[in-house]
Structures are given as C-alpha cells and as structure tokens.
C-alpha cells in the first residue's frame, strides 16, 4: 500500500499526467489557442469584419488581407478571427446550460421513482426528434438571434445529459457504500449531495465537452444553411454560407472557416476523450458513444 498521498497539484504529477494523456494536452492547447484568438481578435492584424469594400471583392490573399476578401470585399481573416467568438460562446453556453439542467432533471429522475417514468418518456420523445431539426424548428419559430440559437441547440442536448445522469445515479445508488449510508440513517438530500453527486460528476462533465463540440457543429450547420445566427454577425457558418456561390473561384471562403470548425470540434472531442480517461477510466465506455 502506498503511503504517499497523491497531490494532484504538484508539478511532477502534472507532467506525468500530460505524458500519459497526450490527447488531453493537444485538446487543451488548441482550445486555449481558440480562446486566445477570440479574445485578442482586435489586435491580430484584423480590420473591421463587417466593413464592405465594393472595389475589393474576392481579392486573393495578400499582406493586407491575409486570407483575401469575400464577395462583398470584407476581410476573410478578420471575419474568421471574430467568428471564433460565436463558436466558443455557443459551445460554452450550450454545454453549461445543458449540463446544469440535465444534471438536475437526471438526479430527480434517478432519485424519485414516481417521477422517473414520466421524465424519461418525455426525454425519449425529445430525443426522437433529430437534434438539427428540433433546433431548426425552434429557430424558425422564434427568429434568428444568438440567444435563440443557443436555446435551440441546448434543448435537444438536455435529454442526453438526463439519460446519462440518471443511469449513473442508478448505478451508484446500487453501490454498497450508498446502501451503507442508507442503513446509517443518512437523509436523502445528504445522500444525493455527499455520496452520489461527487461520484457521477466525472462522466457528466465529460459528456458536457461532447455537448460543446456538438453545439459548435450544429451552430455552424444552421448558419451554413442560412437559418442560424443572424447573417450580419460574422460566424464561421455564415462566412461559409456567404462563400457558397464563389466556391469555384475562391475555395478558401469555405475551406478556411470549415477547417477551423473541424479543428475546434476535433480538439474539444479529443479533450473530452482525454478527460474521460483521466477522470474515470471505468466509465470510459458509457459516455460519448451514443451521440
């Protein structure tokens, strides 16, 4: 038996974690770079992303316009740099909102038998509607604003968190240490907060990273289809939607923002995989596969 108490904050263990989980490092680095890009966009050789220059349409990359200009003469690099803000805001908001709401509903379903059936039937119903279509329906009804898009994408993600939370709660509830706590007369609220919540958090947080990447993907898809974030806001999906008709002349209009979406989604997914291996290898199988 080891007598050394693991101190996760020490430098040496951080290095060893990084060495054992290269994916985690890659994901963190890329996500950090994206966050940096989003914050520092004004100082990264960017111009006004919405400024239309009728004489500068579809210019090839140059020292002034790093990635060239689009069909309205707007600077593509500036639009992409500012566009990262939308993706990150959507990813982070949808992940945290669906995490909190899903966790609460899932714990209620897992704890109170009477509500379990009703809650899960409703969740099954929501999950039966393909996520993009549900989002499309909400956006089409309430109009395209960034908040609407975030709500529209959060809605279909909630049932996944609920399902996962509930199933982990049920597993943990059957564990002997929870039964021991019950037989010690521990009140239900304390049982949920002290014994169950800490032991279900790891998989749910991992799920949240996958939710973030799915949200970024769906936002880009909706904008690309012209029914997402309002078209005057430079989001990656909108940039691609604008570039569709000029694909043969200036493929970078689609390829550059497209690859950034892919890179971001990839990095967040790999970060999630890494977190999963790090936090709870036992639960590695149950999370993230059923997307």
């Amino acid at each position: 038996m080891s007598t050394v108490v693991a101190n996760s904050t020490s430098f040496r263990s951080t290095v060893s974690i990084m060495r054992r989980h290269p994916g985690l490092v890659f994901g963190l680095v890329v996500v950090a770079a994206m966050v940096l890009l989003a914050i520092a966009a004004p100082w990264l050789h960017t111009l006004d992303p919405t400024l239309i220059r009728p004489r500068m349409r579809l210019k090839p990359p140059s020292s002034e316009f790093w990635f060239g200009t689009d069909a309205s003469g707007r600077d593509l690099w500036s639009r992409i740099a500012y566009g990262s803000r939308i993706s990150l805001i959507v990813g982070a908001s949808v992940a945290s909102a669906s995490l909190v709401i899903g966790l609460v509903i899932g714990m209620i379903a897992g704890a109170i038998r009477k509500l379990d059936g009703i809650i899960m039937r409703i969740m099954d119903g929501v999950m039966a509607i393909p996520a993009i279509l549900l989002a499309i329906m909400v956006v089409s009804l309430f109009g395209a604003a960034l908040q609407t898009v975030i709500i529209a994408i959060t809605l279909p993600e909630i049932p996944r968190v609920v399902r996962l939370t509930r199933s982990v709660v049920l597993t943990v509830r059957g564990e002997a240490y929870v039964e021991a706590a019950i037989s010690m007369g521990t009140p239900t609220q304390i049982l949920m907060i002290r014994h169950i919540l800490p032991n279900i958090l790891a998989p749910v947080i991992v799920q949240a990273t996958f939710t973030a990447s799915a949200a970024i993907l769906i936002e880009a898809s909706l904008s690309f289809l012209g029914i997402g974030t309002p078209s005057e806001i430079p989001s990656w999906g909108n940039i691609m939607a604008d570039g569709r008709n000029y694909f043969q002349m200036a493929p970078q209009l689609i390829i550059a923002p497209g690859l950034l979406v892919a890179l971001t989604v990839l990095a967040v997914n790999i970060l999630g995989d890494g977190l999963r291996d790090l936090l709870d290898p036992r639960l590695a199988k149950s999370v993230g596969d059923a997307r």
Partner: protein, 541 residues
C-alpha cells in the same frame, strides 16, 4: 521424468510494457505426470493463474513469458508457432475456468460450442458423427438428458451443468493435460463436491494429468496427489499432498493450512438472555408491483416465513447456497428492502414496514457490512469523513464523532493516520476493517455481516473473523453472520440457521448441528464441505 505430461522449468513471465523487466511469475518449476492431480495453491496475486495461462499460450494483453521452458509431452511450448499452439490447445491440453457462466459464449448453444472443436480440429468428421460424439461427451460428464441439454443456451443451465459442459468441451479430443483454474470456486458447495468427484473419476478412467489451481487447502486435501504452493509469483514449497498437508516445511504454508476455516473447533460460549431482535414469519416476494410495460416477473417468494431471534452478544450464522434467500433475509432485517409480510421486532417496535422517515431513527440499532470491500467505501471521501457520518446522523457533535472514529480505528486494528487517506490506499482486508468501524460508529446493538469475509484471501479472512469475535466479546455486540461456507460459520457462530429455497430448513446450536444434523439437506451440506475428513483428523491431532 520421461513420463511427465507437463514439465515447467524456471518459467518467468514479465510485463511487456515494463522497462525494468517487472515480472509476475519468476523461476517457477513444476511437473504433472499421467493420472496425477497436481494442485497449485496460492492467494490472489500469487501468479498461479498466470502460470496456467502461459502453458496454454493465452496470456492476456501485456504479459509474455520471458525465460524458462514449458514442455508438453516433451514438446517445447515457449517459442512454438501460433499455428502449432492452436493445434495443441484442445488436442493435447485443455482448460476449464473459474466462472462457467462467463466462460461459455452466451449466444451459442452449448452443443454447438462443443461441436465446433471437432469442426476445426477434425474437419473430416461428418456432421452426424459430430452430433453423436457431442452426445456421448455430455453423457460422459453425467449431464441429465444429454440429447436435449446440448440444444440449450448457457443461461438455461445451472452452474454445475455449465461446468460439466466446460469439462466435456475440454475432454472432446482426449487431451493429455487438463488445466483447471479454480473450477469450483464459483459453485455451491454441494455442486463443488460433484464436480471434484467427476474430475477424479475422469483422471482414473482416462489417465489424463490435471493441473488444478485453487486457493483452498480443503480442496487440496480432497483431490491432490502433489501440491505446489505459490506466493508473489514464486514457488514457496512443493511435495506430495500428504507431506505438505501434515508436515509443511514453510511457515507460509502452515499459515495457509491453519487459515482453512473449520480447522479450529467452535468453543461453547455463554450468551445473555436479553433478546435484541425478533423476526417473525418474514416473507419477501419480488416484483409484486409489475406495471403494464414492465417485464414479466416470476412470483416465487425469495423468502418464506422466516422466524428467528437474536440475543445480546450472540453470533448467529445464516448458511445457505446461492438462491437460498439468506441475503434477502439479511437485507430485509436491515431494511435495505421492505419485506412483503411479517414482523421485525426491535424491542417492542416493529420496523418491518415502517416508513423511511420514521425508520431513520431506528436504523442506528442495526448496521451492516457488505461482501465486496472495494465497493463498500465512497471512493471520494476520506476515511475520517466516512467514519464520522454515522455518529453525526444521530446527533453527535463533530468533536465527539471524530473522537469516536479514532477509537473505532484503534478497535479494528488501524492507526490514526488512516483518517486522512482515501479508500484506494488500503488493501482489501484493511478496507473491510474500516467498513466494520463505520458500522460501529452509530453504536449499534446488531451487526449484520453479509458474506463479509467471502471476497477475502483465506489468511485475511481468518483475521477479520478474529476481529468479529473480539468485538462481540468487548462490546457485547449481537452479530448475524451470513455465509455460503459452512466451515466459516462453524468456526465463529454460536447458533446456525440453514436455509434452502427461501425457507429455514434447520436451526440450532453450532455444535449440535455439526454433530447430529436432523435434516437431510444439512447433512448433505456438511458432507460436501471440502477437506472435511482431513480437517476432522487435524482437529483431533
């Protein structure tokens, strides 16, 4: 020896990923002759299973033999080609495993699983010949109604029948060597006896050599010709079964033999008259509330009309095989389940169907210790936090609770430094001690130990049993001790209850029950306990 079926010399198995050449088995030598049963004995982590997997060439991912030699009928197996090894498996050597449920493919009929051996080793055999052979093999291992049973799936058979299928499969091509890796550990004791008899009989009839892996010296005493004792990957001692059992040379071997439950006689003890728990006509039927969409339930009662009483300072053993209802009885008594009918009297209060809100006040009196120490402690809480919970729930101040947890740790033989650590930093035996300390935190009158020593190695098992005995004497605790192992129960309990199919078959003082059981089933159970004759003679000596 030319006659050896198997001879292993200086075998070392290493972890391939380890740059320091970390080994799990080092310098092991042993041999098995024809018509001989060689038992390899050791506790978990002794390397006994890894040794047997290296013979078969089916080591798991990340392990590989580093040095040494394994000869099967004179043929070297280390370095043999994969094709050759595959031929030899099944043809010259075969293996049966601990858990016959998981060792059989759940989606194939057992007959098909036997038949496919012929399909790939004897492609020239016709389908009807294969069918006949499968049937005769099923008869050979004395399966009932062989023609029909081969058409069933594993989940439709009993544990003993599944193990017989495994043996039939192993014997299909009449190999010279049978490796049996704890083949009876997962079985009930009466089934274990039958399987051991079957193996002995096959050795006599067919002249095969058997390498039998076990942790139980009781089993060794029943079947072994020779014994090899292993510890931490090395051979500690080997010799003829008689010599090792009666005159072990090593202290470690001695301690393993002594740790076999039942090698000491239960002492007659005085027990107070004060009854702390009375259970009357307790019954439990599962699934009595099936919904419209719920699966169909079988409604056979898991527990029927069980009555018992428990006095202060008494240890009451509840013994039974799987499905006997002993765990249901225990879980109903600690109200982890609600009984369907009957009464549970704590003094003059009946808690049998009391609502959870009210019940919470009475939970203090009955505490429970579970089987698997790995899952019984909240992995995210320090031991100190776990230990104060029970006392805090019943109104003790933080200071009192923390003082009490120190005292409890001392009582179960651990020191204060444990308070700041997490469960994963302790061994299985230590964790079980912590679980006992936690159970005592609310100062209960009754402790329910549900198979609390079954998952532990024999030497650790003996220590925990000693601890329970000690607690009873010091605290006047009444203990309900649930076990499948009559030998363990006999060593510890004042009184025994024998259960079968949800009913209490017989109950009485341990000594009386052992010496003159009145029911047939109790007699069968007693007769099936492995190593009974050896232990009896050891006790007399």
């Amino acid at each position: 020896m030319i006659d050896d079926v198997l001879s292993i010399e200086h075998l070392t198995v290493a972890i391939t990923a380890s740059s320091q050449g970390k080994t799990v088995v080092s310098d092991v030598s042993l041999s098995v002759g024809r018509k001989e049963i060689v038992c390899v004995v050791g506790e978990s982590g002794s390397g006994k299973s890894v040794t047997s997997f290296s013979i078969m060439g089916i080591l798991s991912y990340g392990l590989a033999p580093a040095t040494g030699s394994i000869k099967l009928l004179g043929e070297e197996l280390i370095g043999a080609s994969a094709t050759r090894m595959r031929k030899l498996r099944g043809l010259r050597m075969a293996m049966i495993f601990q858990e016959p449920m998981t060792a059989l493919n759940p989606v194939m009929t057992v007959g098909d699983q036997i038949a496919e051996i012929f399909r790939y080793h004897r492609p020239e055999m016709s389908a009807s010949d294969v069918r006949l052979r499968v049937r005769s093999l099923a008869e050979d291992v004395r399966l009932p109604d062989p023609a029909n049973i081969v058409r069933r799936y594993p989940h439709q058979l009993s544990g003993g029948q599944r193990q017989r299928i495994m043996i039939a499969m192993a014997l299909a091509l009449e190999p010279a060597l049978l490796i049996a890796d704890e083949p009876t550990t997962a079985l009930d004791v009466t089934t274990q006896k039958q399987i051991l008899e079957l193996i002995c009989d096959l050795v006599a009839r067919r002249g095969i050599g058997v390498l039998f892996i076990t942790h139980d010296f009781g089993v060794v005493a029943e079947i072994a010709d020779r014994v090899v004792v292993m510890r931490s990957g090395s051979v500690v001692e080997s010799g003829s079964a008689h010599d090792v059992l009666t005159q072990p040379q090593q202290a470690y071997t001695r301690s393993l033999i002594d740790a076999v439950p039942g090698s000491k006689l239960p002492k007659a003890r005085d027990v107070a008259d004060h009854v702390v728990l009375r259970v009357e006509n307790l019954s439990k039927t599962y699934g009595d509330s099936s919904g419209l969409f719920g699966p169909a339930h079988n409604t056979a009662p898991a527990l029927l009309n069980a009555s018992l009483s428990l006095r202060k300072g008494e240890i009451l053993g509840i013994v039974g095989e799987s499905g006997s209802g002993k765990s249901t009885l225990a879980r109903c008594i600690c109200r982890l389940q609600t009984p369907s009918s009957g009464d549970i009297w704590l003094g003059d209060i009946n808690i049998a169907r009391m609502h959870e809100n009210k019940l919470r006040n009475y939970r203090k009196a009955i505490q429970v210790v579970f089987q698997d120490p790995n899952r019984s402690l909240n992995p995210r809480l320090r031991i100190g936090e776990t230990l104060v919970e029970g006392a805090r729930n019943f109104g003790a101040s933080a200071r009192v609770a923390s003082e009490r947890s120190r005292r409890l740790l001392d009582l179960v033989g651990l020191d204060d430094s444990a308070l700041d650590r997490f469960p994963h930093q302790f061994s299985g035996g230590q964790r079980q001690r912590i679980c006992i300390a936690r159970a005592l935190a609310s100062e209960p009158d009754i402790l329910v130990a549900d198979e609390a020593v079954s998952a532990l190695d024999v030497s650790v098992q003996a220590q925990v049993i000693e601890l329970l005995e000690d607690l009873r004497q010091r605290l006047g605790l009444a203990i309900i001790f649930i076990t499948h192992d009559l030998r363990v129960a006999g060593q510890l309990c004042d009184r025994l209850i024998v259960m079968q199919s949800g009913r209490i078959v017989e109950q009485g003082p341990t000594g009386r029950l052992f010496d003159s059981p009145s029911e047939t089933y109790t007699r069968e159970l007693l007769a099936a306990a492995p190593g009974r004759e050896f232990l009896a003679s050891a006790r007399k000596a």
